[in-house]
Chain length 282, copies 2
């Protein structure tokens, strides 16, 4: 079924803003999948279609949904992906770079002409085997968004508070650490924010939850017109962006794949934001 | 060195109220340990001293402090412990039952004459091998305070939200689930509250942190004169009690054993409470 980082990120962000997607698919990519994205207002001009098969991943989750085993990864047309941004994408102020080879993330960022806020995700593979390339890449980012085990690996430090300090020396002024069912943390040099995870009655399928978090995070900041340079928005807005990220990640888990986003409306999103406020206030 | 549930619970509670301790030690129990407790205002009339050796436990933690291996457990005089409450303890309104055989917890509760709020802790051993006895015991409790894996085991349900609903049918109207470094949750039938764990720079020794949580929780409620019957204090106070529990658990981890409580003052406790407010508000 439809999946992938760009899909989840742009679907989640579409509840806040009009995302412009960059990605690559093969000639097997279903029209109805493109229609789902377009129907949510996602700009698909940057979706390259080439002969061949679309990237494919299959995995199996543990009973408690906290671990998963990859069964199949077929790169297919993704193997030769070299992202080229459509002209009218380049002046956008907000950029979220999905998990991909750091050099490609860097080339995408270099094509942007008026960035206000740029950042992205990465994974253990790049941290271990492409460390120098990754460090060169994230040095230019405003924020880095990774999970807790990746933060520990990147910093070479098991204590998350110390790991965060180390990572904030690598370039990004803002670090978001995703902790799966345990929630998320936001670190800046002078402050931090922690939110527990939303308590779902049923975690049906966590695939894509981290990407939906990223989409909610950047989507909310884009909607707010977040501008660090102007200095008029501070940690409060970044914290609320973490909540909206958590909200979108939690919805993602409620149904298989992208299914939940077929029926979700903005009022649901805001209602869950209010729930977060209610169960964390004291 | 000095340790044990009664020690940690009463030390933590002593920052809020004047706890009255019930326990048993051998003739090897050090005067300086009794002096530490007495110096913090803990009433030791209920501390039984008998010939023989004091209970002894030794363990080894994993590098990330999230697992521990028991090296030695010697029950010693604790094996024949049958708690008898001093007369002037019996009319106290707040009772916290540390982890011990459920039948003994039940007998202690039966000796109390004017309870406003009673509850306690238990562990996997009692849940697995003394289930009927445990269920009979907690049926009379207002609150149960256990960790997440124990909650799952007790309910026979891996989803914590569902597990909480099941446990709230067993008697206690309030359930507190401790999640170690990930914080704590409070469940009542009509609402729940979740707080992330405090981010320590160094987790020096987590031994006793769960008991310190319990001591902070009940200590704060005792200090407030918490009275469910009167209906004048609701979830808000229980949530703040969870924060004070988290605060005391976090201090406990900062030094070896009970060391941190030699220098800690109430102002430190309230300052950390304010920190919790700051890093969780949005």
């Amino acid at each position: 079924m439809l999946g992938g980082a760009a899909t989840y990120i742009s679907l989640a962000a579409s509840f806040f803003t009009k995302p412009r997607l960059v990605g690559i698919v093969g000639d097997d990519f279903a029209d109805e999948d493109a229609a789902l994205l377009a129907g949510r207002g996602v700009d698909l001009e940057g979706l390259e279609r080439v002969p061949g098969k679309t990237f494919f991943w299959a995995g199996k989750y543990s009973d408690d949904m906290n671990d998963r085993e990859t069964l199949t990864t077929e790169l297919n047309v993704f193997a030769d992906f070299n992202p080229k941004l459509p002209e009218r994408y380049r002046s956008e102020p907000y950029l979220l770079l999905g998990n991909i080879q750091p050099a490609l993330q860097r080339s995408v960022r270099a094509q942007m002409t008026g960035l206000r806020l740029a950042g992205g995700d990465t994974m253990n593979f790049w941290i271990k085997d492409f460390r120098a390339e990754l460090l060169e890449t994230i040095r230019e980012w405003d924020f880095l968004l990774i999970n807790d085990s990746e933060a520990r690996m990147l910093a070479g430090e098991s204590n998350l508070r110390k790991a965060a300090s180390t990572i904030l020396e690598m370039g990004p002024h803002t670090l978001v650490i995703k902790r799966g069912e345990y929630g998320a943390m936001l670190f800046r040099r002078d402050s931090f924010f922690i939110v527990p995870g939303y308590l779902l009655e049923d975690v049906f399928d966590p695939t894509g939850a981290g990407d939906c978090f990223a989409g909610g995070f950047i989507g909310y900041l884009a909607e707010q017109g977040f501008d660090l340079e102007a200095g008029h928005i501070g940690r409060g807005d970044l914290s609320r962006a973490v909540i909206y990220g958590s909200v979108m990640g939690s919805f993602c888990c409620e149904q298989f794949g992208v299914e939940r986003f077929r029926t979700l409306v903005r009022a649901d999103v805001d209602a869950r934001f209010d729930e977060f406020k209610k169960f964390t206030s004291f």
